[in-house]
């Protein structure tokens, strides 16, 4: 059971990172960040479900705040360039 949970955690991390590194558009990037963060949560819950809840709750809140700021930034980017497509915004990719 726990082995599956840890595997899922790593899987979520990888899926999320893949989304970010693919750099297709801004929404995918943010979704990638969210998913990878969920992988971290699974790691904590898999180790100590009841005891890690304090950490997990705080992490859920922190992740939400970070993604909200990122969303605000995407809105700002969109206002400048009228697109969410990261390929068109050459400077933004790595």
């Amino acid at each position: 059971m726990t082995a599956l949970a840890y595997a899922v955690a790593v899987a979520l991390l990888l899926v999320g990172l893949a989304a970010v590194l693919s750099g297709a558009n801004a929404v995918k990037t943010l979704i990638g960040v969210e998913l990878a963060s969920k992988g971290v949560l699974v790691n904590f819950v898999a180790t100590d479900p009841a005891g890690s809840q304090g950490i997990v709750i705080l992490l859920i809140l922190i992740d939400a705040i970070v993604v909200a700021v990122l969303l605000g930034l995407v809105v700002a980017v969109y206002r400048q360039h009228d697109t969410l497509d990261l390929d068109a915004l050459g400077r933004l990719t790595w």
Partner: protein, 496 residues
């Protein structure tokens, strides 16, 4: 370990300042910027005073709200970070009082500045790995909004987006590493128990080290994770760039070290840091060569300085040579003064030249000769640049000296090679620092020649930081007294 509520005072003062500056900034009044600045300065002074009284109290102390659970823990390392953060924060707050940075959004700028400072102080006072991460995020999110603060400028927004995405990924890699530690220890993140539980080398622990290095390394601008630095530093407002270069980036390195200090000696943490530090300092110096935009030049030059710090920590961890850790921490302190002063001075010059008829107020050719019209700002940059290159008797010399001594203590020709590497890099950096000096005091053209002097409110913090750079260089013992106990904390385990 004594439990005193005073331990919370620095953080509480800064937290209160965050809310207070927002409220005061909302008041629609002509002198709102100054009033908000005064509130920010007051909050920083209280935090600094509380840190001072904690320094004189028997360390370490701790405090937990409600008397139980994970609170904060005040050690010499925390005091060190708090002092650096509050001093640089003070300079930036005074600078911001002039109102040249905040694009009219005073009530948003000051709280973000204070939050960045509070995050760094919290990193120092964090009692376990998760608290470390939480305060790291407080600092990070504050900078997420500070870099693109000039939202009307598309380059600023782009730089901000790249910065935030890279750093958000870094943060999540770091917390993933922490979650791996949690899995290894079976459910605790306090420093002492973790160090005990990790007494053997396991694959998971090694993986955790890698995640932590890469994760914190993004914000610490380790090569090859440094690509966000030039744009982010160049596009952020002057005060924010001073905070980024002088405080946030080195603090990320210290956070990394604090997190890595729990791992047993079997995992070659020190070696990893030495290698990354060496790569960072060398590549960083080469990247800075040939830069003609002053702010970008300073941005690129921040990378090798974090490289020196990481290198010093690595030497210290690898061989237990505390002198190298002393040097690294001293360099963090010195860097705050040198880089802070340089970025604020560049901001002042940029502000004055913006109203003159100059094509690019930050290009070395276009600002030639500014030294004759704005001697304070240009003088500050000159001192900072010489100090950054490691010229004695300025602040930048001592940190590097100690790191070189530490490197030389490594046995055999490896030690000599490492020492030469640092010395060589210092000389290499002159290659891009000297052109700055030449440009500052070249012959001015008409546009530059008619520029007004440095504004007072901008000159005061610049002068203060420059004085600090010179004083730290002439009387480094002040720095050593602060740094020495912090080194002991780092090397002997963060929990007593």
């Amino acid at each position: 370990m004594t439990e005193t509520p005073l331990s919370m005072a620095p953080l509480l003062a800064l937290f209160a300042g965050i809310f207070a500056t927002y409220l005061v900034g909302r008041i629609r009044h002509k002198r709102a910027s100054e009033a908000t600045g005064v509130v920010a300065i007051a909050s920083l002074l209280v935090a600094l005073g509380a840190t001072w009284s904690l320094w004189t109290a028997p360390l370490p102390t701790e405090y937990a709200i409600g008397g139980s659970g994970v609170g904060i823990q005040v050690t010499a390392l925390g005091i060190f970070l708090s002092v650096v953060a509050c001093l640089l924060g003070l300079a930036v707050a005074v600078y911001a009082t002039a109102g040249t940075d905040d694009e009219g959004a005073t009530e948003l700028y000051y709280p973000l500045l204070l939050a960045a400072v509070a995050g760094v102080v919290g990193i120092g006072f964090a009692a376990d790995l998760f608290s470390l991460y939480v305060f790291f995020e407080v600092m990070a999110v504050a900078t997420y909004a500070l870099v693109p603060f000039a939202v009307e400028r598309s380059t600023a927004v782009e730089a901000g987006f790249k910065y935030v995405v890279m750093n958000a990924v870094g943060s999540l890699l770091a917390i993933f590493g922490i979650s791996l530690v949690y899995a290894e220890t079976g459910g605790t993140l306090a420093y002492g128990p973790v160090a005990d539980a990790l007494s053997g080398t396991t694959g998971v622990a090694t993986a955790a080290v890698l995640f932590l290095v890469v994760g914190f390394g993004v914000k610490a601008a380790i090569v090859p994770l440094h690509t966000w630095v030039p744009d982010a530093y160049a596009e952020s407002p002057a005060g924010a760039s001073a905070l980024l270069a002088g405080l946030a980036t080195p603090a990320a390195a210290v956070a990394m070290i604090k997190a890595l200090s729990v791992f047993p000696g079997a995992i070659p943490v020190g070696l990893v840091l030495v290698v990354f530090g060496a790569i960072t300092m060398t590549v960083g110096n080469f990247l800075a060569l040939g830069q003609r935009d002053l702010k970008r030049l300073l941005a690129y030059s921040s990378i090798p300085h974090v490289g020196y710090v990481i290198f010093g920590f690595g030497i210290g961890f690898h061989g237990g040579f505390s002198v190298a850790v002393d040097g690294a921490l001293f360099h963090v302190l010195a860097n705050a003064f040198m880089k802070g002063g340089a970025f604020l001075a560049v901001g002042a010059i940029g502000y004055r030249l913006a109203s003159a008829d100059v094509a690019n107020p930050r290009h070395l050719d276009d600002l030639a000769g500014i030294g004759y019209r704005m001697p304070i700002a240009a003088g500050a940059i000159a001192v900072a640049v010489l100090a950054l290159a490691g010229v004695p008797p300025l602040a930048g010399f001592w940190g590097k000296l100690l790191i070189v001594v530490g490197a030389a203590e490594v046995s055999g020709w490896v030690g000599v090679a490492l020492a030469l590497l640092v010395i060589g890099n210092s000389f290499l950096s002159l290659g891009y620092y000297l052109p700055v000096l030449r440009s500052l005091f070249a012959a001015p053209d008409d546009a530059v020649g008619s520029v007004a002097r440095t504004p007072t409110l901008l000159a005061i913090p610049v002068l203060g930081l420059t004085a600090g750079t010179i004083l730290l260089g002439i009387v480094p013992s002040v720095g050593f007294d602060l740094v020495g106990p912090a080194t002991d904390v780092l090397l002997s385990g963060v929990m007593p």
